[in-house]
């Protein structure tokens, strides 16, 4: 095969051979450093995975909180070491299950959580002080975090001991995933409210997971994923500082989330470049003093978009290779996709096989014995430097626009990504980019695999519980809490304590979001093609 020319490598030529000349400009101490040393290109821990293996965190959620709770218990029993909640679209959009837009969507893409009553069931029988939980939600992130906190309080778990992550990354929603509620600027206020609240009350909680995953899935190249994600990170730090927070008080709790796609070396170089860029940004641009502010910690998920409906067993192999790239890149936690996810949410068997893939890498391959085993490879170091350079070029463009919020408002990252997505699809159709089983080595008459089917029962059960909650709660207390929330949104008080009170009163997710919608309105994006 010749040099790839698809969108992923739009600007970068891959040479036949890399030599010491390819990395003549790389200075070990300045640009790499030993693992645990600035700029952390080789990893943030001196001991690598010998000290602590990555967390095997499988993203899961479907139907009712009861069904999802059962899947969590299964994943923990099979050796999973952290939980990761997938919410359905009504929850992600801040709508109760009885809203007209929720019709047909309840429990389909994740679990439905409409009030504290659902959160109680979701983690029933699971010790919140002993596990770490990641929750993938953005528009209503602070509301869901408040529900988790109150669920822990009710059982007597020390809130300061809670550990986990709330995604809370609204910028990439505007850029890629499009699950936004309010306009960008008030949305950023909710994010910094979480930073401030957690800095004081939840020292072990990751207040944001700045996500490239969805940016990549929407069509970005590796360099675009790296650039837009880290530039989003810069925007959050700037907003935190502008909100009056000390950078070293909140920056150490910022975490990241990347995609691991199919171009093996490019991916693992991307992770290494991300650490180097972030360390320099935090120390030099923001003058952070704490090494913990300089260290980029990240979660990785293998590329959902690389999964094919055709010959689905091929996906096991793709996922294993992508997972290896993430491990070689030094990820702190990992989700491996299941083979059936181009077709549906995974069956229990497929989800277990995905977890086994990680366990085989961790226990059988020997990859975990050595920290950054590919450090010093001519190709890997040259690629790391090239990706860093490409990302910094994007930073300059976005800085010139006044930052990521203005860049988003004018549709810049959205357009860049749509362009890459179209180029990539064309490359697949011309056969320039090979996808085994899709445009080469295809087969006729494949036997369909069995997939998970979510019926309408989840919707009925969620509607029944919602009605029950509304009947049993103290309506006066709910009204008072919602009024206080609305007033707080207007006058600039931190919204987190107000949300905690509304959650304790069993206000619903939709009601809390409506209070904020009244103040801030809803965001409608320009349809760009």
């Amino acid at each position: 095969m010749g040099a790839p020319t698809d969108a992923v490598h739009a600007k970068r030529v891959v040479e036949r051979l890399y030599t010491s000349e390819s990395i003549a400009d790389v200075d070990y101490t300045r640009d790499l450093g030993d693992p645990g040393q600035f700029p952390y290109t080789r990893g943030i821990h001196a001991s690598g995975y010998r000290g602590k293996p990555w967390t095997m965190r499988q993203f899961a959620g479907f139907g009712t909180p009861e069904e999802t709770n059962e899947r969590y218990r299964q994943l923990l029993k099979e050796g999973g070491t952290g939980l990761s909640v997938a919410f359905d679209l009504p929850t992600l959009m801040g709508r109760d299950p009885d809203h007209e837009l929720a019709l047909g969507e309840v429990g389909k893409c994740g679990v439905n959580v409409a009030s504290l009553a659902d959160m109680e069931v979701l983690f029933d029988g699971i010790d919140l002080g002993a596990i770490t939980t990641s929750m993938t939600i953005n528009g209503p992130a602070s509301i869901i975090l408040a529900m988790y906190v109150v669920a822990a309080e009710q059982r007597g778990t020390d809130v300061r001991a809670l550990s986990g992550t709330i995604q809370n990354d609204i910028l990439k929603e505007f850029i890629a995933q499009k699950e936004f509620i309010y306009p960008p600027r008030p949305s950023m206020r909710l994010v910094t409210d979480v930073f401030a609240f957690c800095a004081e009350h939840m020292p072990r909680w990751n207040t944001i997971s700045v996500s490239g995953y969805h940016i990549r899935e929407a069509g970005a190249t590796a360099a675009q994923e790296l650039a837009f994600t880290l530039r989003d990170g810069i925007e959050y730090v700037q907003y935190g500082i502008d909100a009056g927070l000390d950078v070293d008080a909140f920056a150490p709790r910022i975490s990241f989330f990347f995609n691991s796609h199919s171009d093996f070396f490019e991916e693992l170089a991307k992770f290494r470049a991300a650490r180097r860029i972030w360390a320099r940004v935090m120390r030099d641009r923001f003058k952070a003093k704490s090494p913990r502010s300089w260290q980029l910690r990240f979660h990785t998920q293998t590329a959902g978009v690389s999964l094919t409906a055709q010959q689905p067993y091929n996906n096991v192999v793709r996922t294993a290779l992508q997972a290896m790239a993430a491990v070689l890149g030094g990820t702190q936690s990992l989700h491996t996709n299941a083979l059936d996810e181009a077709l549906a949410l995974p069956t229990a068997e497929a989800a277990t096989l995905a977890l086994r893939t990680q366990q085989i890498i961790a226990e059988e391959t020997g990859i975990t014995d050595v920290v950054d085993p590919l450090g010093g490879s001519y190709y890997v170091e040259a690629l790391t430097t090239a990706l860093e350079k490409e990302a910094l070029e994007y930073f300059a463009n976005i800085d010139a626009m006044g930052g990521m919020v203005p860049a988003i408002e004018r549709g810049y990252p959205q357009r860049e990504i749509a362009e890459s997505a179209y180029r990539s699809q064309k490359a697949i159709e011309t056969g320039e980019q090979v996808i085994v089983g899709v445009n080469r080595f295809t087969a006729d008459g494949e036997t369909p695999i069995s997939t998970l089917y979510i019926d309408e029962e989840a919707q009925n059960r969620q509607l029944a519980r919602l009605e029950d909650v509304r009947r049993r709660r103290d309506a006066g207390r709910v009204r008072t809490a919602l009024d206080a929330l609305e007033a707080g949104a207007m006058n600039g008080t931190n919204t987190m304590p107000l949300l905690l009170e509304a959650v304790r009163a069993y206000a619903t997710l939709g009601e809390m979001c409506d209070s904020l919608r009244k103040v801030w309105g809803e965001y409608v994006e320009d349809a760009i093609i």
Partner: protein, 137 residues
């Protein structure tokens, strides 16, 4: 009165994954069609009303959330109510095999599951919508 096939590409439901919708919109435009993209979170009512206003020959629905069995029948029903039964409805996204016959039964033949080449969709629309355009002009 128009010569070129006019297509409304719509994203109904709450799902914001618009990569497919945008890629298809561009592919149809590059194939010489006139494409109107509605943007996100359109109700069936809004979609049909856009089709009416735009004098569309085709409505392309992109649905990845699993809500297709709620949305597609509603769009077909509203088209009938408005006397727009001649509008070709096609749907792309995560549509399980088991739902394909159910969608066929309400008159939707163009169902494009994951991995469908853009060219297949262009050809399908060209084949099925040309008659309408010819009759119109």
């Amino acid at each position: 009165m128009h010569q070129r096939i006019r297509v409304v590409i719509a994203k109904p439901g709450l799902d914001g994954h618009d990569r497919g919708a945008k890629v298809i919109a561009r592919a149809l435009r590059d194939a010489g069609m006139e494409v109107i993209y509605t943007g996100l979170r359109q109700t069936p009512e809004q979609i049909v009303s856009a089709a009416l206003q735009e004098d569309a020959d085709v409505i392309g629905l992109s649905i990845l959330s699993g809500a297709h069995m709620h949305i597609c029948p509603r769009v077909v029903e509203l088209l009938k109510e408005k006397g727009l039964s001649g509008v070709l409805v096609v749907v792309g996204g995560i549509i399980p095999d088991s739902d394909v016959p159910k969608l066929n039964a309400i008159g939707i033949e163009g169902i494009f599951q994951p991995g469908t080449p853009m060219q297949t969709i262009v050809e399908f629309i060209n084949r099925h919508a040309r008659a309408r355009v010819a009759a119109d002009s």
